[in-house]
Subunit: 301 residues, 2 copies
């Protein structure tokens, strides 16, 4: 496989202004790998319990995602997330989280997984991210995190951040990590922590990309109906990393296209509950939306 | 003159996290006309009192802005705005507003003003906007408004909106005007009210442009220090309308460039208090920043 991801595979309960789904396959690694699977061969490192059904597993199989490193704990219960979105859909309110089988998770990677050239550390306890990072001799490593780890395990998080090439977080996280309300200054600060690049996800406002000497930004796809924002950031990261792994090249032009593919995958992901939209997505639809991005951001000097 | 603006010329008191200015030339028509003056010949329709000094007037003169339609009221007091910005600089808190000479303002336009081909109705009482609009036989008319008029004079505002070609408002205003939290659907609704185009200003997130059959969006210029956001939207509108008047053409490519020029002017405007930055701006700086927009939004398919 060319791209490996470690992160949560979860059972979600989601309530949005448009509907409720009591049991929904979720988790950062799920949304990431399904999105990335349109671009490259993906392997997922995670742990699930006995409540993880054959139907759940089928989502991975139908997208040809390698589940050799998906551990099952007999008698265990899969990670649970219960969340709710308000009318503006911008921020999820977490009503409940149960770590369950993730509490004692010690990832043991297969030999094939250890040789993956591209690695993504999805949002999860930073010590666990580092444990995986150290087992994989990847050429390009990116990671996500969240306010919870920034606030509670800052030192450990900084150690993990120091060992990756790219950080992919949202704007509130970038500001909080840097302790700086201006995003551009926050980005400069983050780039002194180790990574050579920072991708900032801005939800309905798009994404921005910073390196020490370049800057790129895109608005989001203009969606008339956002149904469920869960996994938007993870499918963004999946499109971004999936495209890089497919291109097998890290240069400015490729990175910019990767940002657009990330935005494309996120825009599809939020159109329906869980991975429903991505499961029936086609590469033609992805290409068409990519071209639409070019269309609606283009101007001539 | 090729571009006429009606709106407030004001004396502001502004407090930001970076400083305080007790007396500062402000007002929508001021920021608009100073920004637009880099592109075309601008005339301003407004009213001031005796406290409007020769120094205030010099700001208009040095930018060659026509002040023939700037009425002075002997013994009167200029419109006052007292506002404050919090740490994130996103929203101004209005501490005090005094209409003063604007309370009884009846604009009487000169013959030259009535023949202006481009007209901008800056944020002001919608009845007053319409009074000016009806006196000018312009080829292209755009307007701004704010939540205050949307909430209190909705019917009158809708009449004014029905008579313009373009509405230039911020995203909260677009959502409120349409009664619709999704911006894209809000935009479609707004485009049924009369205007053929809607420009949505999104502050640090850039701008979006809607017509019935096209869409364009741009991120904002990445500013490391925003000093005073007052007048950002007005200088945006000034750059937008100024460029259109200079180009003397209304087509999709020209409108897209106008959105970028608007973004450029707003980005300079917020770098210092009042019009300070624009007063020492050069056309070379404007062109350079325009090219930077192209640079940081460009990607190849």
């Amino acid at each position: 496989m060319s791209l490996l991801v470690v992160g949560s595979v979860a059972i979600d309960s989601v309530r949005t202004p448009f509907g409720v789904r009591e049991r929904s396959l979720g988790g950062a690694a799920t949304h990431f790998s399904v999105a990335a699977s349109f671009f490259t061969q993906v392997g997922v490192v995670a742990v699930v319990g006995e409540d993880f059904t054959a139907e759940d597993e089928a989502v991975f199989h139908e997208r040809k995602i390698d589940t050799e490193n998906l551990q099952r704990v007999p008698g265990g219960k899969t990670f649970r997330w219960v969340g709710e979105y308000g009318f503006d859909l911008n921020t999820a309110q977490t009503l409940d989280t149960e770590l369950n089988v993730f509490a004692d998770f010690r990832p043991q990677l297969s030999e094939a997984a250890k040789r993956a050239p591209f690695l993504f550390l999805a949002n999860i306890q930073p010590g666990l991210q580092r444990e995986v990072r150290e087992q994989v001799d990847a050429r390009f490593v990116a990671m996500d995190t969240m306010n919870y780890w920034i606030e509670r395990t800052r030192e450990e998080l900084l150690q993990t951040i120091a060992g990756v090439d790219a950080l992919i977080i949202n704007d509130a996280e970038a500001r909080e990590l840097a302790g700086e309300p201006n995003l551009i200054r926050a980005a400069r600060k983050v780039l002194t922590l180790g990574p050579q690049m920072l991708v900032v996800k801005r939800g309905e406002y798009g994404a921005a990309f910073f390196t020490r000497d370049s800057y790129f930004a895109t608005p989001a796809f203009p969606l008339e109906s956002v149904f469920d924002p869960t996994g938007a950031g993870d499918s963004f990261a999946g499109g971004f990393m999936g495209y890089l792994a497919q291109a097998d090249r890290i240069d400015d032009a490729t990175l910019r296209r990767a940002i657009i593919y990330g935005s494309v995958m996120a825009s599809f992901n939020v159109e329906e509950f869980s991975c429903d939209r991505l499961r029936r997505l086609t590469t033609e639809e992805i290409r068409a939306r990519f071209r639409e991005f070019k269309e609606f951001t283009q101007f001539e000097i």
